[in-house]
Symmetry: C2
Subunit: 208 residues, 2 copies
Amino acid sequence: MKLYDYFYSSAAFRTRIALNLKGLEYEQIPVNLRTGQQSQSDYKAQNPQGLVPALSVAEGTLGQSLAIIEWLEETYPEIPLLPKAPWDKARVRAMAYTIACDIHPLNNLRVLNYLKDDLEVTEQQKTEWYHHWIGKGFDALEQQVEAAPFCFGDKPTLADVCLIPQIKNAMRFEMDLSPYPKLRSIWEHCMTLDAFVRAMPENQETAG
Amino acid sequence: MKLYDYFYSSAAFRTRIALNLKGLEYEQIPVNLRTGQQSQSDYKAQNPQGLVPALSVAEGTLGQSLAIIEWLEETYPEIPLLPKAPWDKARVRAMAYTIACDIHPLNNLRVLNYLKDDLEVTEQQKTEWYHHWIGKGFDALEQQVEAAPFCFGDKPTLADVCLIPQIKNAMRFEMDLSPYPKLRSIWEHCMTLDAFVRAMPENQETAG
């Protein structure tokens, strides 16, 4: 199993956590987003969307972190990342999508670059934009999650797999997390677990 | 089953298509995004994120269109919206997420309002922004989808459920769709099907 990866990408970070939680081995192939490697033709032949992550397995190459994780969930169900009961599963997915559909897409590198380069917004406007969308999503999540140890129940789920990279990202952009005690307690608990820690950007070989 | 709905919302539109394809009855409760009804406390008590759609059933109220549709898929599997084979399912989900995570979140009403009101971009800049993100996503999708009749295989799937509202939205913003013959052929086929047509914004009672 090969993971096309970039150490700082939150979506790649999610996939690393899921692979680690499931105890799966994978080879990391770095795709440097800062130098535009994701837009080069050899990578786009693998993943037409030109984004990371992508997972390459016997069946082919798959993009989209959540599609990868749902496929892992179905193919390697021994350590599940979704609860069994349909309504519980739906609640976990709703939390994951709050992050993956309503926070992260607005704040990733390509969007921040567009704001800076094409719309020529100031550094402060860019920071306000960033904090605005994180705030909207985290306000809702703080109400949706259970307390520690995890977003839902006593085992890590897809919701934690999405939340931890988003919190990491928020810290990097100096977001004030004091209004989110429940989210912070989940972060603190996950930071005691090897599967999360090993997936952290700074713990990737290519980090620099 | 009650659907908190707004006729113009692409995410609500997805949910209407899925409910129709599965032949399920539902009561529509309009939440007017133009007048800010989604941010009022009685609605946010149901859905803390303050977005539409939300589905209210015996188990509770669930937000996030994709979480709703996955729950419907599991609870009412008779007419499936995902293929059975895990890799096929993953490919369909990846197409759906390309729309739901990488196009739609950048172009929905709250974001366009932020660009206009907070960043004070010009009308032209707003249109360019809109077309830019649609173009990025549709360029990839045009390579990922099969030809007509549908995005994948000979039955409508979650990918079509996401694609049709996104194309409708693109048409509304006068996006040039000529570079996307495969996407257009899927649109044309879906427009011959009652489940899609009945879900169209202009065919909702509250459209105006």
